[in-house]
């Protein structure tokens, strides 16, 4: 998993550098206690402005980013920092599970999404994977993507790039297994492909989610109220 060529500084030592962005001090303290011995927490921030300053200053490998922040929200942080620090990866954490929040932060450029009820071990694993350049799909996020890219839904589509506007059958299979709670390793075994191939499918899906011009995607997310 540790591939030095696409690992940002900090993760090569095995302990990725992390900045925590969440407006609840109690939650930050809890996360710090859970992951503190597996990663280097180099900064914390409670607002969008603080987060941007801290990330600029510390250049972490991974930013654990709350989707909801008092002065703008996670997408604002990603949009502000990503152009100048492309090596920084964002892992979105949210308590709301609303499609709108999830889709907006992923489309802003986050590399993964997990819910705040995730276990400490899973969170550590997710951070390590994001630091190594992989994408992290929670079952819920996989479900959202499957739902958003389903055929026969919505009205006429304005297809600019047809390739970006649909998932290949293989990608759908991978997503279904992710939604069923399978790990990358288990998916590889199930589909008789390597873990690297599973990762490639997953990051292709994320790219499609970010770049698709599928015009109902944002509206779909806004309309959908699912917990």
């Amino acid at each position: 998993m540790t591939d030095a060529t696409h690992s940002p500084s900090g993760s090569s030592a095995g302990r990725p550098t992390v900045v925590l962005v969440d407006d609840h001090g109690m939650f930050r303290a809890g996360v710090r206690a859970e992951i503190g011995d597996a990663v280097d927490i180099v900064g914390e921030a409670a607002t969008v402005a603080e987060a941007i300053a801290t990330i600029r200053h510390t250049r972490p490998a991974v930013v654990l980013l709350d989707v909801h922040l008092p002065d703008g929200g996670g997408p604002a942080v990603v949009a502000a920092v990503l152009p100048e620090a492309p090596e920084t990866r964002f892992l979105a954490l949210s308590v709301s599970d609303a499609a709108e929040d999830v889709i907006s932060v992923i489309r802003a450029g986050a590399r993964g999404y997990v819910t705040k009820t995730i276990s400490g071990a899973d969170l550590r694993d997710a951070i390590r994977r994001v630091a190594d350049g992989d994408v992290v799909f929670s079952p819920r996020l996989a479900g959202f993507v499957l739902d958003a890219f389903r055929d026969g839904e919505g009205g006429p589509r304005a297809v600019v790039d047809p390739e970006l506007d649909q998932l290949t059958p293989r990608e759908q299979e991978v997503l279904r297994l992710l939604a069923r709670g399978y790990s990358y390793r288990e998916i590889g075994a199930e589909l008789f492909i390597s873990i690297k191939t599973v990762e490639t499918h997953a990051s292709n899906v994320l790219r499609k989610l970010q770049l698709s011009s599928r015009h109902q995607l944002t509206r779909w997310a806004a309309d959908r109220r699912l917990v």
């Binding site: 009820t117 479900g143 499957l146 389903r150 279904r176 939604a179 069923r180 709670g181 109220r225 917990v227």
Partner: protein, 394 residues
């Protein structure tokens, strides 16, 4: 907003200075603004006053319209004196001109109207003035852009013209003039005098209504928090020794709040909501966490009812036998078929050797679905968890 942000360069803004003025600071303000000597401007005002009081009138108008610099507070006694002086100078001008212009009949009411308008303008706060400026711009500009606005403008002008023609034609200009002017003066005067008061009243009413709605919302949220969240927190404190019970209570509360906030999971006759409800029930009964991910949806029917019941049974099995704290459920529904996957990472078992007391699997899951021409596949191995795949055609 655009009007109040004057350029800060070169020419000083037109403000009546608070210091170094003789009466209202009008002459000083104009002199500073135009880069002239203050004495020259004062002399000009005095000279103009001999021309039928024009200087006085201009001075009063500037006094009313031009503000003092922001931040500089005027002596309140001085401000009161200003009104008095303005009033006296206005009356003075009227008296000077009353002989020359009495036959025109229009002069007195227009001066009164100007005076009243200026009074309202001065009483209004800066934000109100900005709003009025915007409003007047909008209603004028609306004629050009907005069809409804254009219609309103045309209708208004037509009505005014029709009224004027009617009155003039009926009564002749001279007779109509007197009555009309008297009426206009009365109505205008009333409007001018009570205008600010009306504006204030309307604003206060709407503010009060907003405040009431806000406080009602607050009361409702407080009541809900008291009924549910505080009770749950009390229960959690009493059960602090049992992590499983604490997790169960927290989970119940979380679900309740989500329903309250997002309205999700409320039974609505759809497959997805029914599955969520079944999962919630199992969660509460067996103190485990069940994450349900549902893609697509379909209205409930006999087959989907059976599918939900079978899925519920599979969740109960995982909860009872797998020795895990969480179970994942994935459901997908389309027009043609629906499927549910119930997966745990627990102890697993050998599906070939289902014990006699585990009737749930055979009867409640497999049998139930077979009756609806569905299928149930159980994948499990000791130590590797269990996944139950349930599928029905629609």
């Amino acid at each position: 907003m655009t009007t109040s942000t004057a350029p800060e360069m070169g020419i000083p803004r037109l403000y009546r200075p608070v210091h170094g003025r003789w009466i209202g600071g009008v002459a000083a303000a104009l002199a500073d603004h135009l880069g002239l000597s203050r004495s020259v401007v004062r002399l000009a005002f005095v000279l103009l006053s001999f021309s039928a009081g024009l200087g006085l009138l201009l001075y009063g108008a500037f006094w009313i319209v031009v503000r003092t610099p922001p931040g500089e507070v005027e002596n309140s006694r001085r401000a009161a004196a200003e009104y008095l002086v303005a009033l006296v100078s206005g009356v003075l001008v009227l008296l000077i001109n009353v002989n020359a212009l009495s036959r025109g009949g229009w002069f007195v009411p227009s001066v009164l109207a100007c005076f009243g308008g200026a009074l309202i303008w001065r009483q209004a706060s800066e934000t109100e003035r900005d709003r009025w400026r915007r409003l007047s711009r909008n209603s004028l500009a609306a004629g050009a852009f907005d069809r409804v606005g254009l219609l309103r403008l045309v209708a208004g002008v037509a009505l005014v013209l029709a009224g004027a023609i009617f009155v003039v034609g009926k009564a002749g200009f001279s007779a109509a003039g007197v009555v009309l002017v008297a009426m206009l003066v009365t109505v205008g005067g009333l409007a001018l005098i009570t205008g600010p008061w009306w504006l204030k009243l309307v604003r206060e009413l709407s503010e009060e209504r907003r405040e009431r709605i806000r406080s009602e919302e607050r009361a409702e949220i407080a009541a809900h928090l008291h009924d549910s969240v505080l009770q749950t927190l009390a229960l959690i404190q009493r059960n602090a020794a049992s992590p499983r019970e604490v997790a169960r209570l927290a989970r119940i509360q979380e679900r309740e709040l989500r329903i309250k906030l997002y309205g999700a999971g409320v039974p609505n006759g759809q497959f997805g909501a029914a599955l969520q409800a079944a999962a919630a029930e199992v969660e509460d009964t067996y103190a485990i966490t069940i994450d349900v991910v549902a893609v697509g949806d379909h209205a409930l029917n006999a087959r989907l009812d059976a599918l939900v019941a079978a899925a519920r049974e599979a969740m109960v099995n995982s909860a009872k036998h797998a020795e895990v704290t969480s179970v994942s459920v994935y459901a997908e529904a389309s027009e043609a078929e629906a499927s549910v996957y119930v997966r745990d990472r627990g102890v697993g078992f050998d599906p070939e050797h289902i014990e006699g007391d585990r009737q749930g699997v055979r009867g409640s899951i497999v049998g139930r679905l077979h009756r609806q021409r569905g299928t149930a596949t159980i994948k499990s191995r000791p130590g590797e968890g269990t996944e139950v795949e349930l599928r029905v055609q629609l």
